[in-house]
């Protein structure tokens, strides 16, 4: 092997500079980064991955700050934070500002915060976020918190990556219809209403609760055309997880122990129901798919089959082949 190969031993032993430098190699998708990831992979699979998502300005970073302080104080868990912010689509540059809200965490060797620019990815994460998770997992971090870019309705990639997904809302951000829309609310394992001292918190809570009831059948009595009717939930084969709704005020540390407890309950639910390994399987499958997809595309765009690709493209442009025929030709003949 060449001498450019990164040493993974220091990372397993907790060397923070080596860890930080590897993250850069991984982010830039270098050969050194890839081979180090391969060496570290057998050491992964232990960390609890917590995703934090929600609209911009709901207080995700402040919540991550408080939650991490709680884990450090109460459980002495080592915590890694991956904070993703958007890259400019025009210049490729980015201002990553999540650390501003996490200053309480500095000076603690049990915490590692890494900011990450999305670099053109949509879906709320960067392309290499999953690889970052593997590095932190192998380096012995017990809890890895992934904060997505300020997400709207379709940035749901985090649900595939995390074991436990927190969706953070704040009062006064949208009307009831926003809550009914599919997407981000459906991926919540725990719903957090932050800034719960703001006016309108009851409305936000009511809207979220009714959305949850539509999605998760529970026994309830409703008043319909003047008659009381009891709705029974369908018999469940396994215990269903109903996402709890928690109210917090991150800047005043209100509701943080309760939030940590809800996350812990979800974790034990995952273990008991067998969902932990199911999610692990789904996550690794989507990672494998992503890498395979990238490698296949690269084979045609940069690699050995470039010429065949260009010829197929010309045929499509001349309307001799449809895109489907072109792909069939490339995959069979190429």
């Amino acid at each position: 092997m060449s001498e450019a190969v990164l040493q993974t031993q220091p990372i397993l032993q907790g060397n923070r500079l080596a860890l930080s430098r590897l993250l850069t190699q991984v982010e830039n998708d270098t050969a050194e980064g890839r081979s180090a990831l391969a060496e570290l992979f057998p050491h992964t699979g232990r960390a609890h991955l917590i995703g934090v998502t929600g609209a911009p300005g709901t207080g995700k970073s402040s919540l991550v700050n408080q939650l991490t302080l709680h884990y450090r104080k109460e459980q002495k868990s080592k915590v890694a934070i991956i904070a993703v912010d958007p890259s400019s689509p025009f210049t490729g540059g980015a201002v990553l500002g999540d650390r501003v809200r996490m200053r309480d965490l500095s000076g603690d060797d049990g915490v590692f915060i890494r900011s990450m620019a999305s670099r053109g990815s949509v879906g709320g994460l960067a392309q290499k976020t999953a690889a970052f998770v593997q590095v932190f997992d192998a380096a012995g971090y017990d809890i890895i918190i992934i904060e997505t870019v300020g997400a709207g309705q379709s940035e749901v990639d985090i649900a595939r990556l995390a074991h436990t997904t927190l969706v953070v809302e704040a009062p006064g951000l949208g009307d009831d219809i926003q809550a009914i829309k599919a997407g981000i609310l459906e991926i919540a394992d725990v719903l957090v209403i932050n800034k719960a001292d703001r006016p309108g918190v009851e409305n936000t809570e009511r809207a979220l609760r009714s959305t949850l009831e539509l999605a998760h059948p529970t026994r309830r009595v409703i008043h319909h055309h003047g008659r009381m009717m009891t709705l029974e939930p369908p018999p469940a084969e396994t215990a269903l997880w109903i996402p709890p709704i928690l109210k917090t005020i991150a800047t005043e540390r209100t509701g943080i122990p309760e939030l940590a407890e809800a996350i812990a309950r979800h974790k034990s639910h995952l273990y008991q129901s067998g969902d932990w390994s199911a999610r692990d399987r789904a996550r690794l499958r989507s990672e494998l798919d992503a890498v395979l997809q990238e490698a296949l595309m690269n084979r045609f765009l940069n690699g050995s089959h470039r010429e065949a690709y260009e010829q197929a493209l010309e045929k499509v442009i001349r309307r001799e082949w449809s895109p489907y025929e072109a792909v069939r030709g490339l995959l069979n003949g190429g």
């Binding site: 430098r21 850069t24 000076g107």
Partner: protein, 132 residues
């Protein structure tokens, strides 16, 4: 596409609360295609060095208006070195008396910019320092 991005930590050590300059520079660097990690006000040298380590930055930009640069800058350089990050280039923007500039350059500050400095110059100097 996978060309290496320049990563810059923009930090404001010391006690003055005026961060407009730091924000203007952060934005200009972003528009130049760099990834800027912004840490906010009142950072200690220890906090800055720790952030530089975790973020594996190429450049640290310090905004200092308080007059404490002769205390803060050497301390930050020392901490970066202690962490094994002596390769990180450190730039200072703010109010720096002419007499202090050579001293700061001597201890290892790469560039110093006063009021009215052009962001184009800063961008050019950063690119030069990182690729050299």
């Amino acid at each position: 596409m996978t060309e290496k991005k320049i990563r810059v930590l923009v930090a404001k050590p010391g006690l003055d609360g005026h961060d407009r300059g730091a924000k203007v520079v952060a934005r200009a660097l972003r528009d130049a295609g760099m990834e800027v990690i912004y840490t906010g006000l009142r950072q200690t040298p220890e906090m800055i060095a720790e952030a530089a380590l975790q973020e594996d930055v190429d450049v640290v930009g310090l905004s200092i208006l308080s007059g404490a640069h002769m205390a803060l800058a050497p301390r930050i350089l020392e901490l970066l070195k202690a962490n094994g990050q002596e390769n990180v280039k450190v730039f200072i923007g703010g109010i720096i008396p002419d007499d202090d500039m050579p001293k700061l350059k001597e201890i290892g500050i790469t560039g110093i910019y006063g009021p009215g400095a052009s962001t184009d110059d800063i961008i050019r100097d950063i690119r030069e320092a990182v690729t050299s």
